[in-house]
Assembly symmetry: C2
Homo-oligomer: 247 residues x 2
């Protein structure tokens, strides 16, 4: 957490968070809106801000995320540092920085993080300089402030790579779900269709899900069995990893 010693903003280092969520519209990313200047997503940015000078990087990412969106207790994984000297120099970005930063011309290196959250459990609430916090389907994002589009692409790449060796979904799906939810999630992340039977076989073999022996109700088709994650196996595979999801 934040030490009490200095507590002074470091004008040279920031953190940005790529928060992924998932729902019936596919993979979403959490963006904040600053006052509209240009096109549809050009006024949107990843939640991010300067860190404190005595603050651990991971702590800073959690603090900034909380300040801008209200989200707490999220496990953030580092993507890396982005530090092109020109990353803040688009004219509309400069104008915006002048309105919120003490040293708007300072060259800032950002440490980016990403995370996966269950959209139903985490309802973002904009605050601080965020006018609004919104979920946007990843495939609809075409442009973002600063170099944030590039950071988003790096996050996606890392997420896709993670998918191959670790289970995923625990933080993206509600507690109870049906296998086609998980199936759609994997397809959304990978951006391509996966064979239904092969997907189910693989998931079952991993042992990360177990059926509640209950069925959906009220659906206009054959009701599906309802599942939950087997937390023990899930955690174990998170730690140990496996070789290859097989797709």
């Amino acid at each position: 957490m934040i030490s009490k010693k200095m507590h002074k903003l470091n004008p040279k280092i920031s953190t940005d968070c790529v928060i992924f969520g998932f729902d019936e519209d596919g993979l979403q990313v959490l963006l904040i809106e600053r006052k509209p200047i240009a096109g549809p997503t050009e006024n949107k940015a990843l939640p991010g801000d300067l860190i404190f000078d005595d603050e651990d990087l991971d702590d800073a990412a959690n603090r900034v995320l909380k300040e801008l969106t209200g989200l707490t207790d999220i496990f953030l994984e580092q993507i890396g540092a982005f530090g092109s000297p020109e990353r803040l120099s688009k004219p509309e970005d400069k104008k915006w920085l002048e309105s919120v930063r003490q040293y708007p011309d300072e060259r800032v290196i950002t440490i980016a993080y990403y995370s996966l959250v269950n959209k139903n459990l985490y309802q973002p609430q904009a605050s601080s300089f965020a006018q609004n916090a919104v979920w946007v389907p990843v495939e609809q994002v075409e442009d973002l402030a600063f170099d944030h589009f590039e950071i988003l692409q790096a996050a996606l790449k890392q997420l896709r790579s993670k998918l191959r060796t670790q289970p995923i979904g625990f933080n993206l799906l509600p507690e109870n779900f049906v296998l086609s939810d998980l199936h759609k999630l994997y397809e959304s992340i990978l951006g391509r269709p996966l064979d239904k039977r092969n997907f189910r076989r693989k998931i079952n073999k991993l042992g990360i899900v177990e059926s509640l022996n209950k069925k959906q109700t009220g659906v206009p088709h054959k009701p599906s069995l309802i599942y939950k994650f087997n937390e023990g196996n899930y955690e174990r595979l998170m730690k140990e990893g496996y070789d290859n999801f097989g797709f």
Copy 2:
């Protein structure tokens, strides 16, 4: 490269380089020595220094590596940012910082990079504050200055992971080599034995090596065929990647 604008050191951001080499003694890492204070490797550190305020991160890593070791034209890959507020606060490290830094108490975040080089082509020459630049077998490194041991472990992890999806060796072996060199290289990086026949089959199927139809001479055993990398296939697989090396 380095812009001419400001050219002022950024006292809050540094870069550190993990340079791997390979020879008959296995996988090596390039370290610089500062004047001896404590145990066998405690006075050793990764080559690294503060960056300039107007300098791109990748450029900074290349510059610092050159300044401390003379190595140039090396492709460095980012590992990530390391920013614990305590990372510079071991007593012997503080003492050393006081002797070389203008603001020795400044909290510094470092962006770490790693690379693979052919030890025969790159002979490091210590300069700047490096008293000496030495290759040390990775498995003999037990402790390093600052948080550099942790950075080394992260580099190793990333290297092992890279091994699964991309060819490796072009920058670690001499132009001509024998298959058992490559075999030993993979074993060194993974830290475990690999079956000889399976290894050869896999490498051959990748198509990254081709025989020169020449044999070793002067060896006290059956002479091996001499190989070189097929640069075209190698580059292609570097870009495209493959699923799994299979070990």
